[in-house]
């Protein structure tokens, strides 16, 4: 027959098994064979649960995981032409990579002859052809700087799905603004190749774009 003592035992059993001081549980278990059974069973259960050996997943788990990580470009590739650039870990250090790009740009400005800043031919001759407008001192579409930024943008686009909508919208707005300024400056330079302010803005736009992409890549990595 289940007595009130057994009910009290039921009520305190959980706490007793947690290690709380419940002397009534132990004393009642000595008097009541039925409650003694329950206590012994649960103690055995808890003990066995702690000893459960870890299970082993099938090899397919790693195979699938590896495939996904490789597709996402999580593994560091073997050193290639641009890996010296990636090794700078720009996702973690956007400021240094922005500074590096500025140095690249400044280096090109200081070391290359300012051929493009001089008007070709006499003032009476036809205006410079668009092909001749390409300035060695400004980033062009195929310059090392533009290629590096394009590389960063590809990585950003691949991971943009992991950004929250608000953050993604902010980055997209910023990048669109910078792309518009790059296009406008490039057009301006085609018409006025010696416009130093346009040169300056174009370089700044590329630098800022690199910084924004570096920030976005770092955020995607979180």
């Amino acid at each position: 027959m289940k007595t009130a003592a057994c009910l009290w035992f039921d009520a305190e059993l959980g706490a007793y098994l947690e290690g709380e001081n419940k002397p009534f549980v132990a004393s009642h278990a000595q008097e009541c064979p039925f409650c003694q059974v329950v206590l012994a069973d649960l103690e055995q259960l808890c003990s066995l649960a702690r000893q459960l050996a870890p299970a082993e997943p099938s090899p397919a788990v790693w195979a699938n995981l590896h495939a996904v990580l490789e597709e996402e470009g999580m593994f560091r590739r073997k050193l290639g032409a641009w890996d010296w650039f990636r090794q700078l870990q720009f996702p973690q250090h956007p400021a240094p990579i922005g500074a590096l790009i500025c140095l690249m740009v400044l280096g090109s400005l200081l070391t290359l002859p300012p051929v493009s800043l001089e008007r070709r031919g006499t003032p009476e001759s036809a205006s410079p052809s668009k092909a001749a407008v390409v300035s060695l001192a400004s980033p062009s579409e195929n310059s090392a700087l533009a290629l590096a930024i394009r590389d960063m943008e590809t990585s950003y686009r691949a991971g943009a799905k992991f950004l929250t909508p608000e953050i993604k919208a902010t980055y997209e707005k910023g990048l669109n603004s910078l792309d518009a300024s790059i296009r406008e400056c490039t057009d301006s330079l085609q018409q006025q190749p010696d416009n130093t302010l346009a040169h300056e803005y174009l370089l700044t736009a590329y630098t800022r774009k690199a910084e924004v992409l570096a920030s976005a890549l770092e955020y995607e990595g979180r």
């Binding site: 997943p57 790693w62 999580m74």
Partner: protein, 211 residues
């Protein structure tokens, strides 16, 4: 080497592995997976009771881990961080499946099957009659809410205040659910043992009821 020194060396090795993984070192990824896969998989398996789901979830846990590993700065033990991540992934999976029982909020449990205490059997004890396989099977058959709290507390070693935070419930609720989970497990194991002994299934209502 003393246990403390072994632990220190192991921690230092893992720190190096993590640093290498943060650099995208494929070997480091593999080593971290190898070191922690069993514990993560076991947790997923015990909480879902299904091997296919557990493997999918294990993959998802490590995927999230490796994507976020650059943010790990060593403020807590790596295994703790990984473990919490695994629990959250599994809980979200269970909730998405629409298993409302996963919540441990104080709800009306009067519709639950009463936890039975079998009295009157001559061989009343479970002792010696359950093995790890039987226990694993019985855990898998628990309702999700009971299973979760039992796995977290009795197998994974979480305290009730931690379980309460994970499950968004009170400490008292966690304790009461754990006790019910244990009693339910006991009942399930006794029924399995009785079936095995009689060689036939025994309908629940034929078990000796609570006094």
């Amino acid at each position: 080497m003393s246990p403390q020194k072994t632990a220190a060396v192991k921690a230092a090795s893992e720190t190096q592995l993590i640093a290498r993984a943060q650099q995208g070192d494929e070997g480091a990824f593999a080593a971290l997976f190898e070191a922690h896969k069993r514990r993560v998989y076991s947790l997923c398996l015990r909480m879902t009771g299904n091997t296919a789901e557990a493997e999918d979830l294990t993959q998802e846990v490590f995927l999230q881990l490796f994507r976020k590993i650059s943010t790990f700065r060593g403020e807590s033990a790596f295994s703790t961080w990984l473990h919490r991540l695994a629990i959250n992934v599994v809980l979200m999976h269970l909730r998405k499946k629409g298993l409302q029982q996963v919540s441990l909020d104080e709800v009306d449990t009067s519709q639950d099957e009463p936890v039975k205490r079998d009295y009157g059997d001559e061989d009343r004890r479970l002792m010696g009659s359950i093995d790890r396989i039987s226990l694993s099977r019985a855990i898998a058959e628990l309702p999700p809410g009971y299973r979760t709290v039992f796995v977290l507390h009795d197998i994974e070693g979480y305290e009730h205040n931690e379980i309460a935070e994970i499950m968004n419930c009170s400490v008292g609720n966690s304790k009461s659910q754990l006790h019910k989970a244990r009693m339910k497990l006991r009942e399930g194991l006794r029924q399995d043992r009785n079936k095995a002994a009689s060689g036939a299934s025994v309908p629940a209502e034929q078990a000796v009821d609570e006094r």
